[in-house]
Assembly symmetry: C2
Homo-oligomer: 519 residues x 2
């Protein structure tokens, strides 16, 4: 492994590392999106796969999905589906023919082409927390509504960490910006503070069109260049059970027609908007996603589509959503098997129900991230920073999650399990014999800087050393790191004329009133 | 699933549940050791398996292992091994012939036969933290030497939690008891406070013989009955690199001759007492374990033996051991493949380097516990309560880990991924249609009490509810739970005459001076 693949601190602590690396506050792994080399965990046998497929198809054929979108209804009628008011029933032949047109893998190229991501196959990519209305950090010490500064800080973390491969939705809703122009300010922030793959909310034509235009401008692209290959994506939820709302379908159709990528993620909580049995909740989720993907493929054959899952369970005592549970893990794994059955890339998430970045938040998030690995997920949404079932974004949690994500990246390095003669190291074992140690030998010297994962947040000092250093628990260490990263953050380069063009676009669209807020 | 399989709180909180269930402070899952239904994660291909096997065999054939035990040297000379002082080299034919005599699965029956455990196959069992010299809890707030009361309290947790299936070594060293009689007092505590499978330290013949005798007495067994099937086990470490110390081998030989089970767990830290490359560290660990198992099989063919792994890496900056790392996960998975290759049950651990029960402790422990699952581990040592690389035992960490262990147990329930018509639930989906919800329907009503995992420590309230309840982070919630469990603990029943016989044995052996302390 090259020296650059896993950079190491060489003493001097974080301050020393920062000095060596300019603006870098911590010494992290380089940009290197991982390839998932594990065989997926597959709880379903062939009969199980067929049973869930049969369930999904019968939902589409016999029960139907409501599309609250006249354009979609018209298209699906033309395509031969059975329309009854808003209700659309579609045969499995049509569904399977349409989804077969979707690519099993594709790429998204953001304004910095070095940040291009490949979606599908064995690739696994991580994105930041998206869309919490609230924010929590250790300095504030309580849950508060998000604002633009918080949003900008979380975008800086999104850019800063190389284990975050794409930008999701707003990492926190900046509710201090009026909803009519919020997308303009946040996209300006996103496009200037980060250079990673961009997301647009499907919340009305103005927002979608504005975001596409801003991504085009930021990339220095002509309209033709923008439409030639995916430069961004949207992510929509269905309104379970069995409904698609107008703005989500509208936004997707707009992106599809301009060649941009679409993620369809039903939010089927078992016991609430889906059956209490996980296989039923998965079948319903698949039906809701597949019918939308079929529509988009009919409109624009070959448009990149990702099938998402957000199947979890509720707490049957309170109705509150539960996340990172055993049921969540198994439904994610089952959906992974079905995504491969349908030949579609897959999205899942990093999630928890915990309210603060404590132990619970870590076991719930770890469970969900390992489920992403086990399921063969390609895009992991909300992979860093999520609390309270997605109602809170937290910078401490963001940084803690990045430590876990880096470990998953490292875990996927095939060199860890290499078994050539140099790795079996019989000569080294012979040289040390029964009475030495391996610290000083050449075999160790040749490899020690890159042999092992080097954490940036885990503290491996013994108790006494940890105590002398302040006896600081994980979340507080993450808080200090957050302050350090923000204070030394340097935005990625952007051509000044492009930045001015973006600013002018934002100013013009604000002057025009932005987007309607009657959604 | 029967009502008893996953008990639910039915409101009233923990106090209410405790009132309903007598001494039970919390509502946990019942005793039900899980079966690991996942296909193992196998990073090695056939060539990789053969390369590691070849490495292990060449270590045994060409380099040899030192046995600081004259009896073992004599036995291995008789068996035809090549002896040079303490160094023993053994041919692969001998090794493979001997380990083929070891059973691939066996059982241990403690004094309460309902707590019988099956080791091997797809069984996965969890044991308490073992052997830390120090203790930490939130009330004390610092690392302190262990004492008998702390040890007794951790034994109470060992007994209390149904997800702890066997008792390991002392959950903390009670250094307030003189080393000559410590084993007598602690075994008395263990055998009266718990009824789970017992462990003996291999630390001199008196201790081993005393523990076997106490386990025999506690079980109300004749000597013949005790020796007829495993009633207990020992666990030894080699002294890496490539050495076995006298008392460990001596203890194992004593247990082997009386039909008790043996776990051999080399402690090979890559970069320190093993090669810096994980495959080399695994090969060395296997060699160290296999030669001892070969000895025990030669002495007593068919004696139950478990091959353990403790292969992790050191922090190359400080030399401190690191745990729950990506390298640890992969070496555990590789060892799992090799254990199946050799047809031996396997042991791994729940481990972390963190000093307090914070976020880091959870991601490191989660990583190691999921590695145990992925590797097909049969016995998970230190599964609850371990901190600071095994130097600290903590009751809060114990309880937090039990929440994770319960989730793994639940995850292994095949009903989560059942795909029969009742689970696909097409009729329920049809009944709810596009505009209802699933809370109230019969399909949900019939299943809601057992449909989902119910945590005892995770707090699924929303932020506001959590805040009203005190805004308590995970570790502190675990601390309150610890106090509650200890204050309401009821020891498992034991026949009074047996208890008196145990007490008399302890008194007599103390009068005789206990065990020598010159080890």
């Amino acid at each position: 492994m090259a020296e650059t693949k896993t950079r190491k601190r060489r003493g001097g602590g974080r301050a020393g590392a920062a000095a060596r690396r300019g603006s870098a506050a911590i010494d992290q792994m380089p940009w290197d999106p991982p390839v998932n080399i594990d065989r997926p965990t597959e709880p379903l046998d062939q009969a199980g796969i067929e049973a869930i497929h049969e369930g999904a198809m019968r939902i589409l054929e016999e029960i139907g999905i409501e599309f609250y979108n006249e354009e979609a209804i018209g298209i699906l009628r033309e395509a031969g589906c059975t329309i009854d008011g808003d209700n659309v029933r579609m045969g499995r032949d049509f569904v399977m023919e349409m989804i077969a047109k979707a690519p099993s893998r594709f790429s998204i190229t953001p304004r910095n082409p070095d940040r291009k991501i490949e979606i599908g196959g064995k690739n696994i990519l991580f994105g930041n927390v998206s869309s919490p209305p609230n924010y929590w950090d250790m300095e504030i010490g309580k849950k508060v509504p998000g604002n633009r500064e918080m949003c900008r800080n979380l975008l800086k973390l999104t850019q800063y960490f190389n284990c975050i491969h794409f930008a999701g939705g707003y990492p926190v809703e900046p509710v201090d910006i009026h909803a009519s122009v919020r997308h303009l300010d946040v996209l300006y922030d996103k496009l200037t503070l980060t250079d990673k793959a961009m997301h647009a909310y499907s919340l009305g034509k103005e927002r979608v069109e504005d975001v596409m235009e801003m991504v085009r401008i930021a990339g220095g692209l002509s309209h033709e260049e923008f439409e030639a290959a995916p430069r961004m994506y949207t992510n929509i939820n269905s309104t379970s059970p069995l409904k698609h709302d107008h703005p989500m379908i509208d936004g997707c159709l707009r992106l599809a027609r301009r060649g941009q990528a679409i993620v369809v993620t039903p939010f089927t909580l078992a016991g609430a908007m889906a059956p209490v049995t996980m296989a039923g909740a998965v079948a319903q989720s698949l039906a809701e996603a597949l019918c939308a993907i079929a529509l988009f493929q009919y409109v624009r054959p070959g448009i990149p589509c990702v099938i998402g899952t957000f199947t979890s369970n509720v707490d049957m005592k309170s109705g509150a959503p539960a996340f990172g549970t055993p049921e969540y893990m198994r439904s994610t794994q089952m959906t992974g098997q079905m995504a491969r059955f349908y030949g579609l890339p897959m999205r899942s998430s990093g999630v928890c129900a915990a309210n603060v970045p404590d132990g619970q938040s870590v076991w719930e998030t770890s469970n969900s991230l390992w489920a992403a690995v086990q399921s063969g997920t390609n895009m992991v949404y909300h992979a860093a920073g999520w609390l309270e079932g997605g109602l809170i974004a937290s910078p401490e949690k963001f940084i803690m999650d990045c430590e876990i994500l880096q470990q998953i990246q490292r875990y996927m390095n095939p060199e860890l399990t290499a078994t050539g003669p140099d790795e079996i190291a019989l000569d080294a074992i012979r040289a040390v014999g029964n009475d030495g140690h391996f610290f000083g030998i050449q075999h160790t010297q040749d490899r020690y800087t890159t042999a092992f994962y080097q954490p940036f947040l885990s503290d491996w000092k013994n108790y006494e050393g940890w105590e002398v250093a302040g006896g600081i628990w994980t979340a507080e260490r993450a808080h200090h790191m957050f302050k350090e990263i923000i204070s030394s953050f340097e935005a990625p380069p952007i051509d000044e004329s492009i930045r001015e063009e973006l600013a002018a676009f934002v100013e013009r669209r604000k002057a025009e009133g932005g987007a309607p807020t009657d959604f």
